[in-house]
Subunit: 695 residues, 2 copies
């Protein structure tokens, strides 16, 4: 049951796709549903006393735990690569939470403005939410299950983006493979080491001077040949597209944008200029439909050359500095010159330079045109990356109506989940970030972002062999499985740490599981369900599950428990019920053991992956292959854990993986029957199934 | 068995106090003991292939685990408050490691220069150590026990600093209590809430313009009265002393230093100037004995006014900027002015300002006089804080020969452990830093630093109620138990989070345990033993213990297992043998339960502290009191875990806590006998003992 409340007006975010009448409610009263409310200046404050054992879920892409208690979060899309514990904002703004205790309440704050969630940070048991009174809609959902609240919410915001099947293959990225030879080398090394691969990314250096929709002729002069050569090996090239458009006379995108008034304006009505990678740029005003059409159509500049996947970056938008900002910084620095600089002056000096980037001042100094009105960027900041990505997706749908494209974006707002996936931004090669990325997954799923994953091995800093292996062993379960690392850091491709067999073994498991992962993914998308679930969403009567944050459910059948600590041979695992422990080990060998409900310590070598299958459920494997095109789903190995004298149905979703002809009709129900003696048989099925059962 | 090797020459660090003849060894050969060696330019390289299950211990104050494998560490004392996983250097340089596998090898690299330990970072199983060929001594220790190697090493480097008894009380710090009223308020609040306290710290604002050995007359005009008033409540004031001396005509320390040539020189022989808190400063050349005498004697400026504890800070030394550095930065910035600044220029600009502080260039631009020779600071950088602290301790010993002072230092080198403790520097209010501080403790103990602890609650960033409570519940076991937070962060004193009973309960346990903690501390100091031990140092046959890094042994009797995760009600604990689980809970109530060897999940509320007592061992408690002066050790509660028909001896060390009349003679052996029926009695003992036994 969803109720909608709007205190005043609302800049339409298009997050919600279902028309719900707003409640007739008097906001001058002090109570709205379970929340105490009041107005402070232009802010609406919602407060709530959290019982000790209540869990707060949600907030999508964010730091900290699955349970968001004990911190303060600020929805303000931020390009900040240092995701340490004290941060309040990452790249996305995902204002959906669930208060889960004896009662279950979902709350979506739909606002293009900043929203602050103080969840027991200032006062231990007090929730305090602050949002602009004149720019928000509140959706409150009551249900007796957290998962059902998610499903209701997801229905409200519309079906999640569907990625092509090949996008479930292993993907390799680096900032940057700066030449076509470097790209070819990645493929060559994968082939030499028999490590599967489906995609290689092009970071900013493939462009001519970082100009969107151009190719660097010097280093990628053979671009078309490169695309064609990659295709022969079923490798997709995935170029990056940045939000800012370089100011350069004669550059078509720039010229078109200027001529047609497509760019954001400064206060005087001139095209707003700020520096990002290409130097001075203008920012397309993606809130205007004609701008979205124009920019979106330009993706075809690359699609026409054989590209079918993109990632949209720097679209918070990141701003290194503005003309105005740098002038002020120089003025500040000049004021210190020749003086005896005191220490506080010195810190002032440092700040003048450090705070140049992504400043609120810059975000307050340019304007969009929304419904013919001039709107300051700061009021719709959180929707910018969303609308950039929407431009692309609308163009894909318009120009290639029956084809799926890979697309993920760095910045996002709820609503964008209909247009693309996201990656979790510029993380670091830290063990803590492997754990953090695990915790982000179910939160993202709650907010509609199902096609997602973190930069495996960590983007910034140098990674090590064991960290990449452990991260792969988690990443193999994420829909987006991409290894990515930054300029100046150690090469962290799977073939760069010696003894590639360990890496191959883990990536092989990914390919072996792709049909199952894709099936679980598609069912989650089509049913508004979650692919990654907190344990407590499945075992909602088990109080202990509420605080297990280092294990995740994939769908309803499989539990994973990745190792995220250095120099250990294993980890603790909690089983909410008896489960089949599938230990995937060296050379792709799977070992099976029934473990009883409770706490266990399991041993996990660097090339191993533990999985836990629920009773009454099954998981399917195929033979790994060099890429997704070569996977054979007519021959399945089905592992089922079931009681004697029982039967189960494994719902296997399968489609062509590229057209939009997807629906729940594509599910094949595979039935397994086990008799009282433990002999198992497969029900009628067109597939060739090798059955492995335990009971 | 210790062997000493010197490839070439060595700047004497005074780390080692035992005279050992150096081995007659030909460094042109390729093998030294277990290490492959070679020379590369002016570097000596030691390499070693680590078996898969070998653990590498040591490196004192550092990031990462107790097992140092999988990272690269660089001994170069660094003022860097952001202790993230990728960092290689913190404030100390502690070049001692133990390779622990089937064989056990200790290695101390005594060098005033930078030393790099690549412990399976570049190549997974390869240890590679790089040190200046012409400035190192290598000490190699073989033994069949890690703990015995530590003891041999500790004997080599001399007995650790002994803190006064009052320094085991709870200590409260903040940057800053800026007025004497603020200091009084801390005490008042502690009294009002009946939370014990022994010390309040004065951070830099107590000084006049951050000038060492001065008092800010405006805010601490009643300094003498303040000291006296605090004394009435047995509160010790602990002022900070910084390394740099403000350049200010008429300021006595400056004038004396200039007149007597006490400061470090630049390349032209002028007193080297760089900016720190006071603005432009000179740095005393603590390598000269006359400078140590002069600076050390000035601590009496404060001691004479009733002070008996200090902390030495900024003694890496931290340098915000040098004249030269800031000129270059301005030149760089000027070169960009008016230009169309490209993005790489922009990063250059940022770097020019960011890299001003603590630059290698500055450290290479000033000089010490050592044995009448001019030595560049960079070659002895790691000894600077050590020698500053030595100056103080030598003065204390000279001027107050029979009195102990509290002293801890931020920067350190092995050898300084004889002169003071250390705190673990400017950490953050991160849960990961609570765990990190736990892991640092045994590593520090190996290197001789027994009186140590981390800033409870975290120094930088804002803390939360639960984080402070969990951190206290660990910090109560560290010899130095200090709550400390930075300027601009939330007040995190124990009375600032509401419901102070939880805080009182945990700090009360500290006071209840102080006699036991002090006893264990003194035995560790006097026996060259460790106070905090990795589990594997006690249970060396138990392979699993080698990877348990979130539990620690205190001495040989008590195991602790602090909670370091937010939003949990408990944690896993591994018991290497049957133990008595002592659950300290609300209102100081202790619950007892025998737990069997193996893995357990225990529940720990925010005001609770779990402890685990080994069989055949005992732990003593006293009644908590408002401060250490009021603790009554004539009445002990002795908790013993023992088999029926057995006896045990509890070694209880006790002395006057302030004089240097300490020795192992001060141990009282308390014997507990249990008969076959489980009835327990105390052997002859002058104390009044309440006996609690379990078997």
């Amino acid at each position: 049951m969803i109720k909608k409340y709007i205190p005043d007006s609302l800049i339409n975010t298009d997050a919600v796709v279902v028309d719900i009448n707003k409640e007739d409610f008097d906001f001058s009263t002090s109570k709205l549903d379970i929340f105490n409310i009041h107005k402070e200046e232009n802010k609406l404050i919602l407060e709530y006393d959290m019982p000790d054992d209540e869990v707060v879920y949600g907030l999508g892409e964010n730091i900290r735990g699955i349970n968001k208690r004990g911190h303060i979060y600020n929805s303000f899309c931020s390009d900040d690569p240092c995701h340490t514990e004290e941060k309040s904002s990452l790249y996305g703004a995902h204002n959906f939470i669930i208060l889960s205790g004896d009662e279950h309440t979902g709350l979506f704050i739909d606002s293009s403005s900043e929203v602050t969630f103080d969840i027991g940070y200032t006062i231990y048991n007090k929730l305090k939410i602050t949002v602009r009174y004149d720019n928000c809609a509140l959706y409150i959902i009551h249900n007796n299950s957290d998962l059902e609240i998610v499903k209701e919410f997801r229905k409200l915001i519309g079906q999640s983006y569907v990625a092509p099947y090949w996008a479930f293959g292993y993907q390799q990225c680096r900032w940057s493979y700066a030449t076509s030879d470097a790209v070819r080398c990645v493929l060559k090394k994968h082939k030499e080491n028999s490590i599967p691969l489906d995609a290689i990314y092009l970071d900013i250096d493939y462009m001519d001077s970082f100009k969107d929709f151009t190719i660097n002729k010097e280093n990628f002069g053979d671009f078309d040949e490169l695309v064609a050569d990659m295709k022969k090996d079923n490798i997709h090239l995935v170029p990056i597209i940045d939000a800012g458009v370089k100011i350069e006379k004669g550059y078509n995108i720039y010229e078109e944008g200027v001529a047609n008034n497509y760019f954001c304006k400064d206060k005087d009505g001139n095209d707003f200029a700020a520096a990002v990678w290409p130097g001075k740029t203008h920012f397309p005003d993606f809130f205007k439909e004609d701008v979205r059409v124009w920019f979106g159509n330009h993706y075809s500049d690359l699609i026409d050359r054989g590209i079918d996947g993109f990632w949209n970056d720097m679209n918070e938008p990141a701003i290194f500095y503005s003309e105005n900002g740098i002038k002020k910084a120089f003025d500040t620095l000049d004021s210190y010159k020749g003086k005896d600089i005191g220490v506080y002056d010195f810190f002032g000096m440092k700040d003048a330079v450090l705070h140049l980037s992504n400043s609120r001042e810059d975000y307050s100094s340019f304007y969009h045109t929304i419904d013919d009105k001039k709107v300051c960027h700061i009021d719709v900041h959180n929707l910018y990356g969303y609308n950039m990505t929407r431009a692309a997706k609308e163009a894909f749908d318009r120009n290639y109506p029956d084809k799926r494209f890979l697309m993920h974006s760095r910045s996002s707002y709820i609503g964008m989940h209909r247009y693309s996936g996201i990656w979790t931004g510029d993380n670091q090669s830290w063990w803590s970030h492997l754990l953090l990325s695990m915790k982000m997954m179910p939160s993202l799923n709650m907010c509609g972002f199902i096609y997602t994953g973190s930069d495996i091995g960590g983007f910034g800093c140098n990674s090590t062999r064991d960290l990449v292996l452990r991260w792969l062993a988690f990443g193999l379960f994420t829909p987006l499985m991409r290894n990515h690392s930054a300029l100046g850091t150690r090469d962290q491709e799977a073939y760069n740490f010696g003894d590639t067999a360990d890496f191959k073994n883990i990536i092989d498991l990914r390919y072996s599981l792709i049909p199952h992962i894709y099936s679980e993914y598609m069912k989650a998308v089509l049913r508004d369900d979650m692919y990654f679930k907190p344990l407590a969403f499945v075992f909602d009567k088990d109080r202990h599950c509420r605080e297990v944050e280092d294990q995740l459910m994939i769908g309803d059948s499989l539990m994973i428990a990745p190792v995220y600590t250095q120099n250990v041979t294993g980890r603790y695992v909690y089983l909410p019920e008896d489960m089949l422990y599938i230990n995937y080990t060296t050379n792709g060998v799977k070992q099976y053991k029934v473990l009883t409900k409770g706490h266990h310590y399991i041993y996990v070598k660097l090339d191993e992956v533990p999985m836990f299958l629920r009773k009454g459920h099954a998981v399917s494997f195929v033979k790994p292959a060099a890429n997704t095109t070569k996977l054979d789903t007519n021959n399945l190995e089905l592992v089922a854990f079931m009681d004697k004298d029982s039967s189960l149905t494994y719902e296997f979703y399968e489609d062509d993986g590229i057209s939009k002809n997807y629906s729940l009709d594509k599910i094949t129900n595979i039935t397994v029957n086990m008799d009282a003696e433990g002999k198992a048989t497969i029900g009628e099925c067109k597939k060739n199934i090798k059955l492995i059962t335990r009971s």
